[in-house]
Amino acid sequence: MPASDSILSASGLAKRYGDTVAVSGVSLHIAPGEIVGLLGPNGAGKTTTIDMLLGVLEPSAGTVRIGGHDLRREREAALSRTAFTASYAPLPGNLTVAQNLRDFALLLGVSRPGPVIERLLREFDLARFRDAKCGVLSSGEQTRVGLAKAMLNEPRLLLLDEPTASLDPSVARDIRERIRDFVSRTGAGVLWTSHNMRDVEEVCSRVLFLSRGRILLEGDPRALPGAHGKDTLEDLFVAVAREPLTLDAP
């Protein structure tokens, strides 16, 4: 896929902390309407990569373009249609759901926030929690608030770092369906990190396996295990986590 057609185009991303290499030579592209899984064991560099894509961590090398805008030079244009949510970054618990959404609507430059917020409260089944402090909500409810926040600016790029972590299967399925609906309706691109291979097989059209800061494998999550002599994506994940060097070639 030509980089010019991509919603997200990252080239040669690297992050070093002294002698420690956290991420090295990561290049990835996401096309409109594509949900790409970023997989890898703990410490593989997934969150570091997402932080660099969000501009909250400066890469040691490489470039990030979002919607054709260089993140470093055109930060506002790049981030104005980008959204992020993660289970480890809940919205401030001392504000209500509605207050958090209004505040982030201003930050994200939403032009008529009132109707947008009302629609999102309905879509994410949050209307009854409108005046509840986010800190008292359950994990599933907080995840839905985070996703509602992420949809405020009708993002072209959605970065989801383990969005279904700690959710029960019913809520996780609900979240997956909402994100797929959003993508099919808007044509947004999604980068999705997860340790839940069911999530990945169900929603991702392409996956990237990250190991020790490098992209080791890339392909269709349904075809990739067979191509590497594994029965399931989970088996492939375990192999990447335990013996990454044996998977260098299909």
Binding site: D51, V56, E74, E76, L79, P90, L95, D103, L107
Partner: protein, 270 residues
């Protein structure tokens, strides 16, 4: 290059408005400590007046100094409190993954502090006037330059404190609270700077409040507003604000380079 967005500044303000509105624990301190200071120093000033035989003339000197110093302290603490709200709620990752710029964020903190410190100032003026007959309003607009210089230094010191906490981690919060008290002996809040030894006078010379409090005493004694001293105070203030802005920008750049924004609670000073 991002354009400056007043909407994103408003977002910072809105968040603090919501926090204030729903929390007596945040609103009461805006009045409580300054009220305690005014009452305490009001009676001390009266007693000193009796002891010295100067009667009520000491009230405007001492109480006026306390009022201005508390205003400065509230401004400085207002900036840092607004920042600490983001620290306590671990909001950096959500906040800085939006298009907000460092300048917009800092301006939002400063305006939030302006709003809260004006509430405190109003309470102090009311209490000083009703309780001890101190009518600052009789000085009219002459009071404004004194307040502006102190506001400017409060902002500068607040931003420096924020930079310090961002650089060293949440545990560095305790540095914030005593900062005004550390400055107080040098700037002659209650006594002329000439009382100080040489080395303390040298430090006082680069601190904007020194000419403010010298000027306040001159005005209360019936003299004209010392515009020259105030001009010096304003110039020093501008230099401090520039220094603070540079320091915060440098610390924020470091935080983005090292990943501190995303993992702030780890307190990884490096």
């Amino acid at each position: 290059m991002s354009r400056f967005s007043s909407r994103r500044v408003a977002a910072v303000l809105l968040r603090h408005f919501y926090l204030m509105r729903g929390s007596p624990a945040r609103v009461v301190p805006l009045f409580a400590w300054v009220a305690v200071d005014i009452v305490l120093w009001g009676f001390i000033a009266r007693w000193f007046g009796v002891l010295s035989g100067r009667g009520p003339s000491l009230v405007p000197v001492l109480l006026g100094a306390v009022l201005l110093w508390d205003f400065f302290t509230r401004v400085m603490h207002g900036v840092t409190m607004a920042f600490l709200e983001d620290v306590w709620s671990r909001n950096f990752l959500n906040l800085f993954s939006t298009p907000i710029t460092v300048a917009e964020y800092v301006v939002g903190l400063v305006l939030s502090s302006l709003a809260t410190s004006l509430v405190g100032l109003g309470a102090m003026l009311l209490l000083a006037s009703l309780g001890f007959g101190l009518s600052f309003l009789s000085y009219g607009l002459a009071l404004l330059p004194f307040l502006l210089v102190l506001f400017g230094l409060g902002v500068a010191l607040g931003i420096l404190a924020v930079a310090l906490v961002l650089r060293l981690g949440p545990a560095a919060e305790w540095f914030v609270w005593p900062m005004p008290a550390l400055l107080a002996p040098f700037v002659g809040v209650f006594y002329p700077v000439s009382t100080l030894p040489g080395w303390m006078r040298a430090i006082a010379a680069v601190l904007p409040p020194s000419p403010v409090f010298e000027g306040l005493r001159a005005v209360v004694a019936g003299g004209p507003v010392p515009w020259g001293s105030l001009g010096l105070g304003a110039a020093l203030c501008a230099a401090w604000i520039a220094l603070a802005a540079w320091a915060y920008a440098a610390v924020h750049r470091h935080a983005v380079r090292t990943g501190l924004i995303g993992r702030y609670s780890a307190e990884t000073v490096s």
